[in-house]
Symmetry: C2
Subunit: 256 residues, 2 copies
Amino acid sequence: LARKLAVVNQKGGVGKTTTAINLGTALAAVGRKVLLVDLDAQGNASTGLGIDRAKRDRTSYHLLVRASTVGATIVPSAIPNLDIIPASVELSGAELELVELNPPQRQLDEALRPVMRDYDFILIDCPPSLNLVTVNAMVAADAVLVPLQCEFFALEGLSQLLSTVDRVRRTLNPKLEVQGIVLTMFDRRNRLSEQVADDVRAHLGAKVYDTIIPRNVRVSEAPSHGRPALLYDHRCAGSQAYIQLAGEMLRRERQR
Amino acid sequence: LARKLAVVNQKGGVGKTTTAINLGTALAAVGRKVLLVDLDAQGNASTGLGIDRAKRDRTSYHLLVRASTVGATIVPSAIPNLDIIPASVELSGAELELVELNPPQRQLDEALRPVMRDYDFILIDCPPSLNLVTVNAMVAADAVLVPLQCEFFALEGLSQLLSTVDRVRRTLNPKLEVQGIVLTMFDRRNRLSEQVADDVRAHLGAKVYDTIIPRNVRVSEAPSHGRPALLYDHRCAGSQAYIQLAGEMLRRERQR
Ligand SMILES: Nc1ncnc2c1ncn2[C@@H]1O[C@H](COP(=O)(O)OP(=O)(O)OP(=O)(O)O)[C@@H](O)[C@H]1O
Ligand SMILES: Nc1ncnc2c1ncn2[C@@H]1O[C@H](COP(=O)(O)OP(=O)(O)OP(=O)(O)O)[C@@H](O)[C@H]1O
Ligand SMILES: [Mg+2]
Ligand SMILES: [Mg+2]
């Protein structure tokens, strides 16, 4: 049965999409079958995996509002073992439509049931907010993976995020846990990065991955070629870090 | 009468809050009376201006859902001529409450009317989405100011943002225009920055500010001290760029 992870953080630009794409690719590269669900109206995960706008016919929006079966939304990516459910702009209006469905928070969970046996991992890339779309992802997920940019504003939002996870666990999804916190865009030259990393480890200890994702320009160039960093330049520091992260994640999953 | 600018971009982490805080401070420093409205549930603009969590009693959330007068929400900042309406976490649920008010899109516009004569500029810091809260900001505003990070994913979202501005102008606020696009986190060492800047100027010409905000670590350190970069280190490249941006903005406003 697929292990479902929601990649969440309401702070914008912290590396959610980049982590979902590259971690997904690294897991697929070691033979795990992976489904990436793009839940962000911007559709960055779909673009980063080279899915043409023309192929985003049936999307995660249609899935959420029950306008499509999950089978009709799944598109293979250029990477073996990695499929994606693309996103579309209609997602930015999804909150007001979800609220009319019953129950509004469980639409994604129910919609993904038919494909649970087809994948080892389902990664859900969330938008930068704690709205009903993100809550749907947290209800469908077994755990949350939190990319955390090594910056002050990103640190400030962490307690709000963790208390939302607690609330969803208490009221909607008792199995939901924090799978891990991944430090991203770490810059060795910048004292602030070090301070944030130390601060987070002091508060959250073993929940914080050992693997740190460095700031690395090749990572931000890759999406303009429609390819994950792992394919665009697998030798670069960013790609190597995501390969290491996948390894550490699989170890954590075995020890569960 | 105050000139109202909504600082918008649904892409996360592009420098909306940093621009609202530092542009607001630079305008206040040259004698303009400025009100900063923090519309993001994360409350980063409130923190970046050193507003204690304890002082965020009546917030922009209360203003939106008509639970407070505007006068009761305004808090002076440590900077002369700069006031702020702080944000609170309840904003992440505001969309579902706004929908029950009539008309849902004009709540902020109506709420700000009583203070229009008290300020020269009102800057509205928006959350990273195109939801009803951001639409409220676009309906209240005379123009939008768009911070654009010099990265590929940020460029991808620009056309969606500009078509949303067009839609709001056609249906809700005929005066709404694009005041300008500010290139942020520009890194001279990174070819991608140059490519994005050239691309945006080719498409949008004079709408793009001449002033470019460089990536500058002092800018990202300032919020942890609760002070704008202009006060934390006014000689750094980031602060100087925001001072220059304020000057260019005032020139644009005079030429209107
Ligand atoms: N390790 C890295 N090194 C350099 N750039 C990075 C790295 N990770 C991500 N980026 C870049 O930083 C920007 C933000 O990353 P990304 O879009 O993945 O964040 P996000 O959290 O998904 O954003 P949003 O909140 O808008 O969904 C992107 O332009 C991306 O290419
Ligand atoms: N010119 C700059 N140089 C270096 N760091 C910067 C610069 N501008 C902003 N930052 C940092 O980048 C991060 C993102 O900026 P900011 O929070 O202002 O973006 P935002 O668009 O308001 O994000 P959100 O979408 O979450 O509201 C912050 O940690 C900020 O301190
Ligand atoms: Mg994203
Ligand atoms: Mg912000």
